[in-house]
């Protein structure tokens, strides 16, 4: 089987496991909903549309960031049961296919959550984006991939650590900061309509560059992490 075949096998496995229990997606959805409600209560979206537009971009990414962290830790713990991880190590498939399969599966889950959250955001915050909304269709996946690829990698890194729930957010924040900056600025720029296209393009290019660099680094280093003993 070639690389793509292995990759698809791992992807299908993760999707199937998630489909059977659906706890990841449900957890993420409820978490994101909670964030939206709390922030919606904190200030009045109808009374202050400008302020709302300024902060909604950040709120969206905060909700997604924290929701994905809860799911990411979980995505690797299912590999610990029944010594599946040892079996994965011994399998002849390249280790990076395991990583990429899982990262792609996580990406799909978070995209599903985003697809559900976006109308909810629009409704609860009375969102009326002033910029080019189609750009969001570019910004959201690129930004989400930055979070998911690093999150999946660091969740694997801390897999056998005693307090892995602490490690993931601790590691994720500094490493994804450039991407977070780009995605929050770009999203806010689109919502407010006050960034000119060159700036948004530059943020998008930065996001894309970040994604490429860190995906490569994660793929190359995953085998080392998997066989760390």
């Amino acid at each position: 089987m070639n690389y793509l075949g292995h990759l698809l096998t791992h992807l299908r496995k993760d999707l199937r496991l998630e489909w059977r229990s659906r706890d990841s997606i449900n957890g993420m959805l409820f978490f994101a909903l909670l964030v939206v409600v709390v922030f919606g209560l904190a200030f009045d979206p109808t009374g202050y549309p400008t302020t709302t537009r300024q902060v909604t971009g950040a709120i969206l990414w905060v909700a997604l960031l924290f929701a994905s962290i809860t799911a990411l830790n979980q995505s690797w713990t299912r590999e610990l049961r029944n010594q599946v991880l040892e079996a994965q190590r011994m399998a002849p498939a390249p280790a990076s296919t395991l990583f990429l399969g899982k990262a792609l599966a996580n990406m799909l889950f978070v995209l599903v959550v985003e697809a559900v959250m976006t109308p909810i955001f629009v409704v609860f915050f009375n969102l009326h984006p002033l910029g080019n909304t189609w750009l969001l269709a570019l910004i959201l996946p690129l930004g989400t991939w930055a979070l998911v690829v690093n999150g999946t990698f660091f969740a694997a890194l801390g897999l056998r650590a005693r307090n892995r729930e602490l490690l993931l957010p601790l590691l994720l924040l500094p490493v994804t900061l450039p991407a977070l900056l780009a995605m929050v600025q770009a999203t806010t720029g689109v919502l407010n309509g006050d960034l000119d296209p060159i700036q948004i393009n530059t943020w998008l290019k930065q996001l894309a560059g970040y994604d490429i660099i860190f995906t490569t680094a994660c793929i190359l280093l995953f085998e080392t992490v998997l066989n760390a003993e």
Binding site: P174, Q206, A228
Partner: protein
């Protein structure tokens, strides 16, 4: 034990030399050089802040190179890999010490001179990130299960090395679009010659001190590793002696 290592021989003289230079540097900074025209006496924080900032950027490289050496030697020469790992850990701890000092003194300086504790410009944000990454590095080392710790920490070090320059550049670009307060200063801001003696003595003193504590921490780690290996050897020998 055979002849004492070079670290042992150099330790005491090096410590005394660094302390002597540091004391003299303190004297220079506080009592001898004149107060800064614009900042007054608060500018004297500069003589402790900037050397720490510069050193806080040197030790992460030592950690990165040692981590790469560890990853390279891991399978081929385990003994050298162990030494590389000890150096990586020591450099990480010393980085955290210098970065903490840089951040804290920087905040005190900023508040006294410009009235703000913090600003999200490229230098401060990168320094904060460096601190977070190395705090995470040390946390990973403490909480990983045995056997994995060194490799995982080494991988983290690689990520830190990739990440900090990217953070610096991306925030710098952002700040050229949206300027915010910047803490001026640093070695490229044009220093008045009357300030040079204090600055130079402090750089030398803190560099000597930094190398000393790096070496000290390295020696402690090597000793700990040797004790661990000895214990492992005993365990293996004991298991071989079980009666048939």
């Amino acid at each position: 034990m055979s002849r004492p290592s070079i670290l042992r021989i150099a330790a005491w003289p090096w410590l005394i030399a660094s302390l002597a230079v540091l004391v003299y540097a303190f004297r220079e900074a506080i009592f001898i050089v004149p107060a800064d025209a614009a900042q007054g006496d608060a500018g004297r924080i500069f003589y402790y802040h900037v050397p720490s900032a510069m050193l806080s950027l040197v030790f992460p490289y030592i950690n990165f190179l040692a981590s790469l050496a560890y990853l390279g030697w891991r399978r081929r020469d385990p003994l050298k890999a162990l030494a590389a790992d000890a150096l990586a850990l020591s450099a990480a701890e010393v980085t955290l010490v210098f970065t903490s000092i840089c951040l804290l003194t920087g905040m005190l300086w900023g508040r006294a001179t410009w009235g703000i504790w913090w600003t999200w410009d490229e230098r401060l944000t990168s320094e904060l990130l460096l601190w977070l990454l190395y705090a995470a590095y040390l946390t990973v080392r403490r909480y990983s299960s045995a056997g994995q710790t060194q490799t995982i920490a080494a991988v983290l070090s690689v990520f830190a090395a990739i990440d900090v320059p990217i953070v610096y550049m991306s925030i710098r670009w952002w700040r050229t679009q949206h300027p915010a307060p910047v803490f001026f200063g640093g070695p490229d801001s044009g220093m008045d010659p009357s300030m040079l003696p204090a600055f130079v003595w402090n750089i030398i003193g803190w560099s000597l001190w930094g190398i000393f504590i790096l070496g000290f921490r390295y020696a402690i780690e090597r000793r700990r590793q040797a004790t661990e290996q000895e214990a492992a050897l005993h365990a293996i020998e004991a298991s071989l002696e079980t009666p048939q």
